[in-house]
């Protein structure tokens, strides 16, 4: 295991500390607001659930409630950015960017305004709300946009750092955060930079490329695989666009086997991004784990991860199978 990454000390314990990723965003935004008076926040009637209330309470004059109107959320944000503000616009990812993608494309991306889009309640951790609210297509949608960075932190600690980095980033950005508690993987000392991928566990046999909450599952899988005698490398990809091809190719050229794991549609998501990279630069046996061209459903996050085959156990089996198949 890599020590330079300063991962959480209790990471491999059964009672690992957990917290909703969105809480890290809320703290990061409050801190960004303290550091820079141009930071403003907008919300579409979901102030507390998107954790923007911390900022709104401290800086009421810099908080704008647009009501249940996500298209306006994006256009008003672009107008604020035009005047030198750094707008963080937040709603559920299902609605922003789910509903206002074209507004984001035109008024933030083509128009080159640094609107910061926060997609809360993304992925399966939205749980009981069901398919309509479990946004699984956001990575694909946002990855297709020029002038847009796509950031998917693995825990609340990284989300806080990502939020602060976004406030200093010149372009429009998308930050994907989840509703329910998930294990805290990193610490304040773990490095984070927009556009960088990080080797969270070193190994020579297979590369597990993970993003968001799946990075924890990949690390747990690597731990199991180690006991199986398989040395898995875990590459955490908190920025899906721009993709850190250097770090990924370095790992893949060594291990020659790749599994991508994400809590999102594999079509257009991290799996696609890695497939594109490998296809052009280092064709390598690849398995994409994630949501496979279907919608979610109601349930507790743990039940859903089990149902969709996105637990450490599933990753371990997939890795063992891949190595067996390719060594026959």
């Amino acid at each position: 295991m890599s020590s330079s990454m300063h991962l959480a000390e209790d990471l491999y314990k059964k009672d690992v500390t957990s917290e909703p990723i969105r809480k890290g965003f809320g703290r990061g935004l409050l801190e960004a607001g303290k550091r820079n008076s141009n930071v403003v926040a907008l919300c579409a009637d979901l102030t507390e659930s998107t954790q923007i209330h911390l900022f709104a309470k401290e800086f009421p004059e810099r908080f704008i409630e647009v009501g249940i109107a996500e298209q306006n959320l994006a256009t008003v944000g672009a107008g604020l950015a035009a005047m030198g503000k750094i707008p963080f616009i937040s709603s559920y990812a299902a609605f922003s960017p789910g509903r206002n993608w074209e507004q984001i494309k035109t008024t933030a991306c083509i128009n080159q305004r640094p609107v910061k889009v926060i997609g809360s309640h993304a992925g399966l951790y939205t749980g009981p709300d069901g398919a309509t609210h479990q946004m699984l297509e956001d990575i694909a949608l946002m990855r297709a946009l020029p002038n847009m960075a796509v950031i998917v932190p693995c825990d609340s600690v990284e989300a806080e750092k990502a939020t602060l980095a976004m406030a200093n980033h010149p372009q429009a950005n998308y930050l994907r955060v989840a509703r329910d508690s998930s294990p805290i993987v990193t610490t304040t000392h773990t490095p984070f930079e927009i556009g960088k991928a990080y080797v969270f566990a070193k190994g020579d046999d297979i590369t597990l490329v993970a993003t968001g909450t799946m990075t924890y599952q990949a690390l747990m899988a690597a731990e199991m695989l180690f006991k199986d005698g398989i040395d898995a490398e875990v590459v955490h990809v908190p920025t899906i666009k721009p993709l850190d091809g250097v770090t990924l190719l370095h790992s893949v050229r060594k291990t020659k086997h790749v599994i991508t794991i994400e809590e999102a549609q594999i079509n257009g998501g991290l799996g696609s991004a890695v497939a594109e990279l490998l296809g052009e630069h280092a064709p390598t046996p690849l398995l994409r784990m994630g949501i496979k061209d279907r919608f979610g459903e109601s349930g507790q996050p743990a039940e859903l991860l089990e149902h969709f085959g996105l637990t450490a156990k599933n990753i371990r089996l997939a890795a063992v199978h891949m190595l067996e198949t390719n060594h026959k």
Partner: protein
Amino acid sequence: MVKKMSIKELEKKAYDVRIDIIKMLEHAGNGHSAGPLDLADMMTALYFDVLKHDPKKPDWDERDLFIMSNGHCAPVLYAVMAHAGYFDKKELMTLRRFGSRLQGHPERTSLPGLETTSGPLGEGLGQAAGMALAMKMDQQSHRWIYCMMGDGELNEGNIWESAMLVAKYKLSNVIGIVDRNNIQIDGTTEYVMPLEDLKGKWESFGWHVIEIDGHNIEAFIDACAMARAIVEKPVVIIAHTIPGKGVDYMEYDYHWHGIAVGIADVAGAPPKHDQAAVALRELRSLKGKITGDHE
């Protein structure tokens, strides 16, 4: 700064702008005709009288902001900007061509003086609102933000989301202008998606409404002054216009919403190879004789 003109001079200038629009569209071989022609009077008034701006300093931080939410009317925006001195008039003939700064729909980053990128409808008023909110935070609300919208554009829900927000935050330095020309691509507005009672709609959204003849330059300048004087509510100017204004065979005919002169034979119009020449002859002969004929 732009030299102030008399109403007579502005009216003449509007016809020069129309002539350029026809030439630009003929040269480009595609683009929208009706809206740009009917906006020529108000756009001329904006850039030569109403707006506080400086073509030599497009980033001047005391300028008023003009947003063309109905981006398909770009030809008239480019034409008045060139006449005002933002760039050389010769460049007008590059409209819609590869490598041109005059993109088919206005693209902010390609041409100094544009405040937004537009084309996809319904997005200007929200950006105007965001700009006004920022000005409020920075005690800059003495600057005015004019947002031009098409009437067909008012089909878009985003417009009404923005209308509610502008009223909620009392952003009275936002002035809306609706080009009420009664047409959109598929037909008349009342056939495609009825807008009336349009005045009542805006009023019920918390706006003060001023209705004018959009070809009466003096009335438009007065309406803008009145809009700036009303501070309790945001103001929208519903400007009644004649689509294709100035070219007889285009006037009132929705077929000219989305096409340029010279590319298709249209019932009631000259054959396509003659359309531009007929339009130009008509516009030139109307010079100086148009005062008050639509009141």
